[in-house]
């Protein structure tokens, strides 16, 4: 006898998966979706955009620092924590709402984040949410450092860090906890991990490798990946910024292919891709063009978002403005949890 529709509905909701990819290194329209930038994003443009609902005006009205902006994206509130401190978000994160409302285990919500500081992104210290209710966080560079036992000479290119403050590059740390993650969760031996890492060319490639491994081994329903290569722009070398955009373009397409090929994800996954904000325009005399995001001008505050996969209309472009803080309420409406403290509104076009 087949199950009732209610049971089937509950099973479907339980199977629904969401992956969010943010670029922790804003990218400007002129280097991405504007006509002159399209050569840098062939995969996003030709493979993913036609399958997506595309939002051309995502406005970030908060602080334009990568950690605090990512925290704002993850809480649905414009956070005001110090961008350069290792602090948890002040408001409950999407992971806490998801786990608490839907009674999900910690293995069902994961964050793959680039660097120091982001280790606190998984959960807030908000009363009634907070410690123990958030996402598990994996920092691939820390994993690699731990696997290398301090000798990282051959892997320096995968450990680039702290672009936003290029003058300050603290030493990365890795420890027993990271090694345990490697072996018990990712099911990778230290030797296999090192061997694969040696074939990669950037920190974001390492992050994507770890994300794919997580998808295979843990299949979390809510997976949040923050990329960081693009933020090399802070060092002022335009070619490296463009190289970062092109790599990110390729990695997003590869992840989408993984979604299609993994049985746990194929057909039931919605993928969101968005930079956390833009970068300064060439015209604003207070900035230095692509290099930073310090002026707060419209170019630095405005970016785009694409959503594709389960439940999303394909090939639709929405030009009306939305806020960065709208993401969490939208995820709540899609997945069936209630982000009660988020300030944004669900994006009706996606529901």
């Amino acid at each position: 006898m087949s199950a009732s529709p209610f049971v089937r509905g509950a099973a479907a909701a339980r199977k629904r998966k969401v992956i969010v990819i943010t670029f922790g290194g804003g990218a400007r329209d002129q280097e991405t979706f504007a006509p002159e930038g399209q050569e840098n994003i062939p995969h996003l443009l030709q493979e993913l955009a036609p399958r997506s609902s595309f939002f051309t005006q995502v406005v970030n009205e908060g602080i334009l620092g990568h950690y605090v902006a990512t925290a704002s994206l993850a809480t649905g509130v414009y956070e005001t924590i110090n961008n350069f401190s290792s602090l948890p978000p002040e408001h409950p994160t999407v992971f806490e709402y998801f786990r608490k409302d839907l009674k999900r285990p910690s293995s069902d919500a994961w964050v793959v984040a680039p660097s120091n500081g982001f280790n606190r992104i998984g959960e807030s210290e908000y009363r009634s949410f907070g410690p123990g209710m958030g996402a598990r966080v994996v920092l691939p560079k820390h994993l690699l450092t731990a696997a290398m036992s301090g000798s990282t000479t051959d892997y320096e290119h995968l450990l680039r860090d702290n672009y936003e403050t290029p003058l300050y590059a603290p030493q990365l740390a890795g420890n027993e906890f990271e090694l345990q993650q490697l072996e018990t969760i990712l099911k990778l031996s230290v030797d296999d991990f090192k061997a694969h890492a040696s074939t990669l060319s950037s920190p974001d490639e390492l992050s994507m490798y770890v994300a794919r491994q997580l998808m295979r081994q843990e299949a979390p329903s809510l997976l949040w990946i923050t990329m960081h290569d693009i933020d090399v722009a802070h060092a002022g070398a335009y070619s490296l910024y463009i190289e970062g955009i092109r790599r990110t373009d390729r990695l997003c397409a590869e992840l989408w292919k993984t979604v299609q090929s993994e049985p746990e994800y194929a057909g039931n996954t919605t993928l969101f891709i968005l930079p956390d904000f833009g970068r300064d325009s060439d015209e604003d005399s207070g900035g230095n063009g692509f290099q930073h995001h310090r002026t707060g001008d419209p170019a630095s505050r405005t970016t785009w978002m694409m959503a594709l996969g389960a439940g999303v209309r394909e090939g639709v472009v929405y030009d009306h403005p939305m806020q960065s803080t709208d993401l969490v309420p939208t995820l709540g409406a899609m997945m069936g949890f209630s982000p009660s403290l988020a300030q944004g509104r669900p994006i009706q076009d996606l529901l």
Partner: protein, 402 residues
């Protein structure tokens, strides 16, 4: 403390000319809001080490403010007055350390969502100030020159894409002796119009022979200073309690002597060079960034009549820790990447030049070093066109200047 409480003796720690300037305008400063005054003091405190063009701008700004009535001050500074300032900031030493205040104010404005209001107030003030006393035109139409692609043997993709709409593209330039021709042209202008810090040669690699009449800043010549700075930074980063903001404050306080610069040298230029390395992001490690940022700062601060920037090859990207430790002396250069960096840098040089007075008469040339491709912008040159004329760079210069 608020500006209305300012007293002359509080400026005793300022260098002599800065002190004189501020004290002479004390009555004016006392009438202005706290959200504004430290930004002005940040400029004034370095008055003794400013370029002549900057000194003129500060003096004119203070003269304009002094001429305003109380009602006009209220009107001009309404936006700034509406910005709320925390008591912690109010109590900080904003007279003695205005730059630290401005940095902390910026963080405060972001966190209290007042940045946009502040930005609007600043833009309106700038517009009013400029219309009250329009800047004087330069004594000679400005000329900007960018030489890009040093060491690149072949490059077939389109170049100067951002600039093409503004000028004429040449692809049959005779490249022989190009660097010498352009440096000589800069020197001729410097001799004919000997304005202090008026004619610059910025070199992203090893400087070529050039006239002493040009103010020269060179990435290679600053190597010992860069090395001293990187050592200093490494040692600071390893100190307990050090973070990015603390490091930034530390760097802002470094003086030329702290980095081993010659005390007998040009004090104004030495300070300028230290600021390039301590305030510029990436200038310490990438020569292309150094050249672009130096050009931006030279244009913004010194307002040169002639600016020749030759971009050099930058080192390949390595991990930030490795780049900052300066440990690998066998540098591997990224020539094609450097060409793209420089192409964008040249575009930014032109934008920054066009922000200066007299922009409608200014000229600009960018040349792919050793090759036949160049682009020239000038009042008498057609925009968005290409020329197949065979010419040397002297001819292109004469067409651009008109």
């Amino acid at each position: 403390m608020l500006p209305r409480d300012l007293k002359a003796e509080q400026f005793a720690g300022y260098p002599p000319e800065a002190r004189r300037l501020v004290v002479a305008n004390l009555a004016t400063l006392q009438q202005l809001p706290l959200s504004f005054v430290p930004s002005l003091l940040r400029e004034a405190i370095d008055y003794d080490y400013k370029f002549p063009a900057e000194r003129l701008v500060i003096s004119r700004e203070l003269a304009t403010l002094s001429s305003l009535s109380a009602a006009q001050i209220n009107d001009w500074f309404q936006g700034f007055s509406q910005v709320s300032i925390s008591s912690k900031l109010e109590q900080s030493d904003w007279v003695g350390q205005p730059a630290v205040f401005v940095e902390q104010l910026s963080a405060y404005l972001w966190s209290t969502h007042q940045l946009d209001a502040f930005r609007k107030a600043a833009t309106e003030y700038g517009d009013r100030s400029r219309s009250a006393v329009p800047p004087s035109p330069p004594p000679l139409p400005r000329l900007g020159i960018a030489i890009i692609g040093q060491g690149v043997v072949t490059y077939d993709a389109p170049l100067f894409r951002n600039l093409r709409a503004h000028g004429t593209y040449f692809d049959r330039i005779k490249p022989d002796g190009g660097v010498e021709i352009l440096l000589k042209a800069a020197a001729v202008r410097a001799k004919a119009h000997p304005v202090p810090y008026g004619h610059w040669y910025i070199e992203g690699g090893q400087e070529a022979d050039h006239s002493p009449s040009l103010t020269c800043v060179s990435y290679r010549a600053l190597e010992p200073v860069r090395a001293a700075l990187l050592r200093n930074m490494q040692s600071e980063i390893n100190r307990p309690g050090m973070g990015p903001e603390e490091l930034r404050t530390h760097l802002a306080q470094l003086m030329p002597a702290d980095l081993g610069m010659d005390k007998a040298g040009d004090a104004v230029l030495n300070r300028f060079q230290v600021r390039l390395l301590t305030e510029g992001s990436g200038t310490q490690i990438f020569s292309t960034t150094f050249a672009q940022w130096t050009a931006r700062e030279a244009l913004r601060r010194a307002q040169p009549l002639t600016l020749l920037v030759r971009f050099g090859p930058r080192q390949r990207q390595r991990s930030m820790n490795e780049l900052l430790s300066n440990s690998n002396t066998n540098l591997d250069f990224d020539l094609s990447g450097s060409l793209l960096d420089a192409e964008m840098g040249a575009y930014y040089n032109w934008i920054n030049q066009q922000r200066l007075p007299g922009s409608e008469q200014s000229s600009f040339i960018v040349w792919f070093e050793g090759h036949g491709k160049a682009l020239a912008i000038g009042p008498s040159l057609a925009k968005g066109t290409a020329s197949n004329s065979v010419a040397d760079l002297n001819e292109v210069l004469s067409w651009a200047i008109g």
